[in-house]
Amino acid sequence: MSEVLEVVREVIAWILISAGGFFFIVSAIGINRMPDVFTRLHAASVGETFGSGLMLVGMIVMAGFTLVTAKLVLLLLFLWFMGPVATHAIARAALQAGERPTLTGIDAKAEKDVRKLEEGQ
C-alpha cells in the first residue's frame, strides 16, 4: 500500500515539475518574441509566478511534512508577493521614462493614463 502511495506521489511531483519547466520555457520564448517592454513584462510574469509556483509545489510534494516544506512555502509566498510588485514598479518606471506600448489600439488609453500619472505629481 505504501509502495503505491510512493508511486502516486512521484507521479504527481513529475507532472508538477514538468509543467513548471514548460512554463519557464514558454516565458523565456515570450521574453524573446514580444515586441516591447510591457508585453515582455507580461511574458516574464508567467515564469515568475506560475513556473516557479508549480515547481515549488512539486518539491513540496516530494519533501513531505518537514522543515524543508516550511522553507519552500516561505519561498513560494515571497515569490508570489514580490514578483507582481517588481513587475508593477518596472512597468511604471518604463512609462514615466517615456516608453510607450507599441501594439495598436491601446496607445490612446496609455497616453491618457500617463497624463493622469503626470498630473498627480
Partner: protein
C-alpha cells in the same frame, strides 16, 4: 550512471530551466532599453533560485533552499535599487510621496 525515478524529475526540471536561462540571456544582451534588461534580470534571478532549489533536491541536500531564499530577497532588492538609481541618479535619494507639491 542510472538515475532512479525520483532523481530524474529534478534533472528534467534543471534541463528545462537551463534552456529558459539561455533564451533569457539572449534577450538580456539584445534588450534595447534598460527596462528590457531589468525585466530579464529579474526573470533570470527567479530561474536561478529554482535551479539552486532543484539542484539541492537532486543531490539530496535540500538545505540549499536557504541560499534560494537569500537569492529571492537580493533579487527584489536589486531590482528596486536599479530602478531607483535609474530615476534619481543616486541610491541615497529620499524619494518623494505621490501627490506631494514639488
Amino acid at each position: 550512471m542510472m538515475l532512479d525515478r525520483g532523481e530524474a524529475m529534478f534533472v528534467a526540471g534543471i534541463a528545462a530551466i537551463l534552456v529558459a536561462l539561455a533564451l533569457m540571456v539572449v534577450r538580456a544582451l539584445r534588450g534595447p532599453t534598460v527596462f528590457d534588461r531589468l525585466v530579464t534580470a529579474n526573470a533570470i534571478g527567479v530561474a536561478a533560485i529554482m535551479l539552486v532549489a532543484l539542484y539541492g533536491f537532486f543531490i539530496g541536500r535540500p538545505e540549499f533552499l536557504d541560499i534560494g531564499i537569500l537569492y529571492a530577497l537580493l533579487n527584489s532588492v536589486g531590482t528596486f535599487a536599479v530602478l531607483k538609481f535609474w530615476r534619481y541618479g543616486s541610491l541615497g535619494h529620499a524619494g518623494e510621496e505621490e501627490g506631494d507639491p514639488q
